[in-house]
Symmetry: C2
Subunit: 461 residues, 2 copies
């Protein structure tokens, strides 16, 4: 065991391939359905939204997929990211546990989202795409895609949830500095947006609505615009596996192996990114690492949602996928972790969780900010409210190990920094943060809007 604090890889250790769990998963993924016909979708349908290379990655069962050199060159601006032993946090907790974190907040945009934004922009560039549409909630994803599109000279339209657009001007300006066009959603630029504004001009938007607008803008562009999604899909989780692949090498440098790997989950991409390479080691190499997804009690799609077919967006324009969901009409309470306010969950994560390969836990908002502040005071770095969910669980694991007097090696993903979330910290410091009980009634109501999928469709292959 090393006495090092930060375990740094050289550029030559930057992974050359992404890892595709579909090659090893014992759980086949049910097919994706067309939102209108409810029949399995064809690549043709998806090609309205995505370049072919990403569609192929979406369905590939190759174990490893080469990372293009053009993508690796840009990854090198910030990757490999550090693995850090949180020695000061351990000491503060008085725990015998060893706590490691992978610091994805060091990317130029401050989060792991860059890991998929860069290849998505690249594959679009290769396919000749001139413009992309996307949505963003708190703005982490929008900022990442803004940077990536800037690198590849692609125009970008960002539909930003109106409440965030108004409350988080910093992230909007950040995106604009990279050259993106940012619109407060609902907008009058789409049919769906106009219809909503007609019903209620003061509609402040939601992630589901913003997705619908971005999808509509691309789907009705006559082929001139593609669409890009920052989480949920298989190819997004695929790109994020650089996190876990690096972490495996770095844990090796540290001379330890994690007993538990932790990530926060909204759509599932940063958790998938760090956990899936460790799941491979569980499945193929006899490791027994627990893989723990942490979600907010306000939007607990894994721990309270059901595993069923649902739409990915509010307007029912996105494909229907089988996933853990709270119902596509469910609007989560206004917690500050905007990136975790999503009704569904990546189909891959949902299927693996359902089959028992992953664990999940929901944590309340105030305890999450307590963990964030403790981490900041111990380690110096101020985490994003989303990432703070992983920290909460990591601390709880460390305290549990302390109570039981056992050594435990804990690894969590620090998916992003909180520099654009300071107003949330102010609310916390002022004692004005609320905890939200599980919104059972709202979920029950949303569950009634689930699509009627006639027959239980069986696995694709």
């Amino acid at each position: 065991m090393s006495d090092t604090t930060r375990f740094l890889l050289n550029e030559t250790d930057l992974p050359r391939q992404w890892y595709n769990i579909l090659a090893d998963s014992p759980v086949p993924l049910p097919p994706v359905l067309h939102p209108v016909t409810k029949e399995p979708v064809t690549p043709d349908f998806l090609s309205v939204l995505f370049p072919m290379e990403l569609i192929l990655q979406e369905v590939s069962t190759d174990r490893y997929i080469d990372i293009p050199e053009e993508v690796r060159e840009i990854y090198k601006l910030y990757r490999p990211t550090p693995l850090v032993r949180a020695r000061r946090l351990e000491k503060m907790l008085g725990t015998p546990a060893h706590i490691y974190y992978k610091n994805e907040s060091v990317s130029p945009v401050g989060s792991h989202k860059a890991n998929t934004a860069i290849p998505q922009a690249f594959y679009n560039k290769v396919a000749g795409t001139k413009a992309i549409t996307t949505e963003t909630g708190a703005g982490q994803w929008g900022a990442a895609l803004s940077m990536a599109c800037n690198f590849f000279d692609i125009a970008l339209e960002v539909y930003m949830v109106k409440v965030s657009y108004e409350q988080k001007p910093y992230r909007r300006i950040f995106m604009e500095t990279y050259g993106a066009q940012v619109y407060a959603s609902p907008t009058d630029r789409t049919q769906f947006g106009r219809a909503l504004l007609e019903q209620d001009p003061s509609n402040r938007g939601s992630l589901g609505i913003a997705i619908s607008e971005a999808v509509e803008a691309a789907a009705t562009s006559g082929g001139s615009k593609k669409y890009s999604l920052g989480s949920v899909l298989n190819h997004v989780l695929l790109h994020q596996t650089v996190i876990g692949e690096e972490a495996l090498k770095q844990m090796d440098m540290a001379g330890e192996y994690p007993d538990v790997v932790i990530g926060c989950v909204g759509g599932g991409s940063n958790f998938g990114g760090i956990a899936l390479p460790f799941l491979r080691e569980n499945l193929r190499n006899g490791q027994r690492t627990r893989l723990l997804a942490v979600e907010p009690t306000a939007a607990p799609s894994l721990t309270k949602g059901i595993y069923t077919y649902d739409y990915g967006d509010t307007a029912r324009m996105a494909p229907i996928v089988k996933m853990h969901t709270l119902g596509h009409t469910f609007l989560p309470p206004g917690i500050h972790a905007g990136g975790l306010r999503y009704h569904g969950m990546a189909p891959l994560i949902s299927a693996l969780y359902e089959a028992g390969y992953l664990e999940a836990r929901a944590v309340p908002q105030v305890a999450t900010f307590e963990a964030a502040r403790l981490f900041t005071q111990a380690e110096g770095f101020l985490p994003a409210p989303e990432s703070a969910h992983a920290i909460r669980a990591a601390i709880d694991e460390a305290l549990d190990a302390k109570a039981k007097g056992e050594k435990r090696v804990i690894l969590f993903n620090l998916s992003g920094h909180g520099h654009f979330d300071m107003m949330a910290y102010q609310e916390y410091l002022a004692g004005r943060l609320e905890d939200y009980a599980y919104p059972a009634e709202a979920v029950a109501q949303a569950m009634q809007s689930l699509p009627q999928v006639e027959t239980e469709v069986t696995a694709a292959d």
Copy 2:
């Protein structure tokens, strides 16, 4: 020459000593004078404000001073910092120059200020200090000292320039998250602040005023509080030399040696930190690197100020030092680079500049933000407005090399990120930023307030 992008040192390469230019400087420093008697100050006078170890460092002529292990342990949270070859920026400029930058923005607080905040808090801790006062303008220094005091369990009072306190709530909350008490200066907590508010209740403060308040709060505390300064003083520049020491090793890894080393200057600490180890190589090992300090045209203390004795603060409570100054009553125009809005300059930097060992250049605000945006779009990372001054000069050097068709190796210090300065970027993007002509009249008026130092005092040794 390497094809690497980021040159990373291991923790074992973290410097064990700071470099003290006073051991090699051919230019002796004139003595520091008491603000009232105008006689050279005694350590007794300084000990009201500073712990003895820092006073000894202030006057030491030892070439190297050991970095305490407790400080190195905390440095390891973010040091060594990366040296980065800005290949994408070079390409965008079409320059034959090689551009390297030292990325100090990766510290938990987002700037180089942590490098001196940590040892200052440590030496205070060792001396038994229970509370520290300081001032902050834009908030970079305040955040760094907040983190450091938190690590060493010392209470911190931050006097934050009122206009920044109101316009930059994010940085204030950042400091509060570490546990600091932040006050909008002028406050009613000091005699000086109360007098100013009596004259003008709407006084929005300045860095000079905030320094006066912080100094008064410590000096009148009956020994219960010490004071800490984030720039200007010898011991601050000393601590910052970790930047240049690491950069020397990293340039070696890159197989190159810089023709020019560039840093922005307000008080002079980040520039000194990167440049002084290279000056040692010039003085002792026959290197001929140009060392270029870059200041805003709105506060051009090196290029337009005069080299004379002046007060460090507005209320004339701080010692009188010989430095480049625009007059201690000069209030720089409201540029967004708050950290560069200071009337004076580190005595060390001033003396070396006066003697021809350093170069200086003033750059206007709009061109500086143009450089910042270009850098962001090329390299991904969004710089602080202060650091953008160094980027402007680096780009100009690269373009000059291009015009002359010559290879030039350029190294600049990216002293901090701009995540808390997005409103400034918004002003720039909206075309609302102003350039400020050199405020000649205001400076001429301020020059009349220079202290009357009876005789030209000669060098201390």
